[in-house]
Amino acid sequence: MITKWAILLPFFMAILIPILHTRIRKFHLGWVALAVPFILFIALLRFLPQIASGDTISHSWRWIPSYNLTFTTYLDGLSMLFALLITGIGTLVILYSIFYLSKKEALHKFYCYLLLFMTAMLGVVFSDHLIMLYFFWELTSIASFLLIAFWHHRKASRRGAQKSMLITVTGGIIMLMGFLILAHEMDSYSIRTIISTISIENLNRPLYLAMLFVLLGAFTKSAQFPFHIWLPDAMEAPTPVSAYLHSATMVKAGIYIVARFTPIFAYNLSWFWIVSIVGLITLFWGSFNAIKQNDLKALLAFSTVSQLGLIMSLLGMGSVVYATTGEITDVIYTQATFAALFHLVNHSTFKGALFMMVGILDHEVGTRDLRRLGGLITIMPITFSIALIGGFSMAGLPLFNGFLSKEMFFEATLAIQEMNVHSWIVLFPVIAWVASVFTFVYCFILVFKTFFGSADKLPTDRKIHEAPIGMLMSPVILAVSIIFIFFFPNILGKFVIGSAMQSVYPTVQPFEQMTPTIAAWHGFNTALFMTIGVIVFGIILYLSWPKWNRIYNRLPEKWTLNYLYNQLLEEAEIVGKFVTDLYMTGSVRHYLMYIYVFFIFIVGGYFIQSHIFAIDLEDQAPVEWFEILLMFVMAGAAIFLLFAKSRLTAVVSNGVLGLGVAMLFVVFRAPDLALTQLVVESVTTVLFLLSFAYLPEWSKEQKSKATKSMNLLISLTAGALVMAISFTVLNYSEFKTISGFFENAYELAGGANIVNTILGDFRAFDTMLEVVVLLVAGLGVYTLIKFRARKGQKKYED
């Protein structure tokens, strides 16, 4: 039950908030939103002992049984870890946002989107059904899009939102293909079922493809190289959003997917290679690029990219045991995954604190440009402390939790050497070490360039002072937890990460043996020497930074990924416009022609192909004289319509035709249809009259003989085909008849009017969707007319 309500509560609140916002004027809307993650966090904590002991909670919820859609939510160690992060960091971020965003902003939208995101994210980690997982996955992308474009009057925000949307949704759709292949191969949509049935024997080509597709989805979401380019642009979002979505939670959805699917795909050695190598490249490239950034948020964005790469590569290294041994014999090789999950938590704490710190600078100083910042240590001592703790933790220095996981990372890269997978694996610790040196350098830039040095270039338009207490609250809590985790890491390890390990390695019994005792000091070993090397080389590089920063200009603009992305977008627009212009001519006649031609070829083709054209006039009811009369009237009206001299005549004869159809319905005892046809006829006539003003002069068409005869041919064929089909269906018996429903409508649906029971009960799902389509069409007409470009305006928004 907890999982179901955890998903629904933020959703209901997201609906409620826009309604509430006009009522609540006295206090900040954020206080209302704050309740949701806080309550959920406490509620989840209550289940922690149960989950930590290896239990799982699942809850099934029948959604559409006829389509076999059961919405199963599932709470195990891994979901718990992520859910605690989502709600815990969510609480702190919303608390922070209350002081960050003034009441003048569109707060109802902000919190609505944020809570929607929370629903989506909790849905991702709780869903057991692959399609539900995909649904929530895409919902996170949409929520992220809306939040990045929160300040949508800025062009950069819109561009950033579009970029993140395009990249993550493309990945998502590819992942859906992977899911579909996986479900098809394993004959189940339930992740748990798949995990319990899969084994090393299941290695085959489709599953390999499914693995690649799922990984693509995970990599785009988690900003792995070369898809990382959206993350720096997403920094246009308000800082609480960057802290929450783009460092602590959403970008970790990809990590979640990789961890969750390890027991499914990792039997294939390629999984290990792809995940760990992509992770290492991302780690290196992110840290290398972070150094050159002048914008503090861009620096943090690249550092997030790099840290995500670190976690990803650890997950890759942890998965190698599946492929090499088939089953886990030695617990030592699972420790990389433990380090990954541990670093995941640590990263959320220090990166959350750092983002909030940058937000404070932005808010109080008015700039985040490193070239202007400096000397703030005396003015903002508390903010400085937060930056110091967060930055040093990220650099992997002792006394902060980042040190512990960084050490474990080094150890994992060393331990993997013993697996004898391939000789190139020697490069793993080398890349890890080099990237850590760069990480060290940008952490120092972040801390020292901001808070030391001269304060000459600071903006002078305001009096700079320490942030208000409310704004400091959340980052201080995170900073304290950074130090707390360093001194008591095993609380986290035993209660949260231990059971999460069980989700990644379900076969290891008992799972507690995978939980190591984390210690800050374990003698002089290689990992420690690597850390000392990082510090020494890091300081040297930091001090000599002005000497070597020119290497960043070496990469020509044309070679960057962003250039490629922009080119791709431009080309797609050009090609798209070219192709669309080919058939979107603006002439209704052309569109009708497409429809009829397709109809003739597809429907007619099907009927001819399957040899079911049969015209049999036996057993038909006799044709009465008034029916023939009616037919003549209608045919006459239709022919008259073709030769009408004015538009009004055409509308009137069209009306005659419509009323004739209504009469025909009466004759054939279909009062419902007749009624509807009558009203539709009158409404459309009004619509026609209204449209007169828009239509051009009614003129005789000047078309070549060839076009005219082509049109004649198409219309005659379409008409003949409809007639032939009408005759055929009278004798057609391929499908099951549905008359049983009509005869028993009263017992089945409690209604005597068959038409209505079809609409409202038997096919209610169709009706519901039709109603939605109707609404969308109506809104489409409305927007087309109301928001079209006026004379002299630009044709499109940029």
Binding site: S691, Y694, N753, N756, T767, I785
Partner: protein, 142 residues
């Protein structure tokens, strides 16, 4: 030229109510005899259209201050909600249920959740038809 439409205006005053009555009748009759949410919505819309044609748009807007876009949205929301609510009670999506209630004067009548669904359909139809027609008729202000 000034159009003399006194007859039309006078007749419409009465006719509109007749049409509205028919709409309501059709809506409730739909369960057993011809009618239903869709037709009722259309008839309702045609009553509104008649008003708009007879009197000018401004006048009707003052007397009937309804945003039809909202009506359509409410309709869709209602239709979907009637689908979702059963799932909260462990029933399948869009499961309909009904019960008999004794009304004073009218007697035993059946109340069904399908009514709510139909109401959603009707509201959507009215909303969409009116939105389209009004935006086309008002859209020429440039």
């Amino acid at each position: 030229m000034k159009i003399n439409d006194v007859i039309l205006k006078t007749v419409v005053q009465f006719v509109v109510f007749i049409i509205l009555t028919i709409a309501i009748y059709l809506f409730f009759a739909g369960h057993y005899t011809p009618g239903g949410g869709f037709v009722a919505g259309l008839v309702l819309a045609s009553a509104a259209i008649l008003l708009y044609i007879t009197y000018d748009t401004e006048k009707v807007k003052n007397g009937l201050p309804i945003d039809f876009k909202v009506v359509a949205a409410i309709g869709v929301a209602l239709a979907i909600t009637t689908g979702i609510v059963p799932t909260l009670f462990g029933k399948p999506f869009l499961d309909m249920s009904s019960t008999s209630v004794h009304f004073p004067l009218i007697g035993e009548k059946e109340i069904a959740t399908v009514m709510l669904f139909e109401l959603g359909v009707a509201l959507t139809v009215v909303g969409v038809v009116m939105t389209i027609i009004l935006s086309i008729s008002e859209g020429r202000d440039d």
